[in-house]
């Protein structure tokens, strides 16, 4: 495999206040690398949605962003409850968010659809009771 740059984050599942910090840091890092603003925006939006999902649905997890010459790969892995019906979860408007989380503005059921929309490739691997790993890819060329 070709050489790449890795950014790694532990995403805290308890802290709603700092939720999104890994994504904000990645945006900063990608800016410093001089990547095109439209690419940075795609990665930022997709990663934020995935990061928030790990916080509100899975009790946290780990995030890796790998920057290759021709693409950026975002891997979000958690050991949360897993997703029983992935197709249903991908449907716009589908959400199992609690009232508490909804009062903060989450729970529109638009996160996974946004991730799909803003990336060139997306795969979800999930096992109920074990966890979820989402891999997304944004092409640079």
């Amino acid at each position: 495999m070709s050489e790449f740059l890795n950014f790694h984050f532990d995403v805290d599942g308890e802290n709603f206040v700092s939720a999104g910090q890994a994504s904000v840091q990645v945006k900063k890092n990608l800016r410093e690398l001089g990547l095109p603003p439209e690419i940075i925006r795609q990665v930022s939006i997709a990663m934020y949605e995935g990061e928030i999902n790990m916080v509100i649905h899975a009790g946290g997890g780990v995030a890796d962003v790998n920057v290759y010459e021709d693409r950026i790969v975002i891997i979000l892995a958690d050991t949360g409850p897993g997703i029983k019906d992935i197709e249903l979860a991908m449907t716009e408007g589908y959400s199992t968010a609690t009232d508490n989380v909804r009062s903060l503005g989450f729970g529109a059921g638009m996160g996974l659809p946004n991730m799909k929309r803003y990336t060139d490739e997306m795969t979800i691997e999930s096992e109920v009771g074990k966890g979820t790993t989402i891999t997304m890819c944004v092409y640079l060329k």
Partner: protein, 108 residues
């Protein structure tokens, strides 16, 4: 128009203003964060009544140029400090979201 010009024209109250010269290219109104993430465009003014800390990350990552808190909603000091640090402009207005949107639409 820049954020600073919009503040002056409509008498909005600046709450956090690290980047007053940012251009406003249109707007998006909404309170559900994933809708804003998916639908707001870069350099939009985001009009909302949501004022919790999560608006800072959403504004930063979706790259909107200013958050306009409608209906006289304010944000607490922790939110505003974070916004200053992250380069996120936040202003407030007594006007309802619809009225703000009409004014922004007329001037950009």
């Amino acid at each position: 128009m820049t954020v600073q010009q919009i503040i002056e024209k409509f008498n909005f109250s600046p709450l956090s203003l690290p980047c007053p010269e940012r251009e406003v290219s249109g707007g998006y109104t909404g309170d559900l964060l994933s809708w804003v993430m998916g639908r707001a465009s870069q350099d939009n003014a985001w009009i909302t009544i949501m004022s919790n800390i999560n608006i800072v990350a959403v504004a930063s990552l979706s790259d909107v140029s200013v958050v306009i808190l409608a209906e006289g909603v304010s944000a607490d000091s922790g939110v505003l400090e974070t916004a200053e640090q992250k380069g996120v402009n936040i202003v407030s207005s007594e006007l309802p979201a619809f009225e703000i949107a009409v004014r922004i639409a007329d001037s950009v």
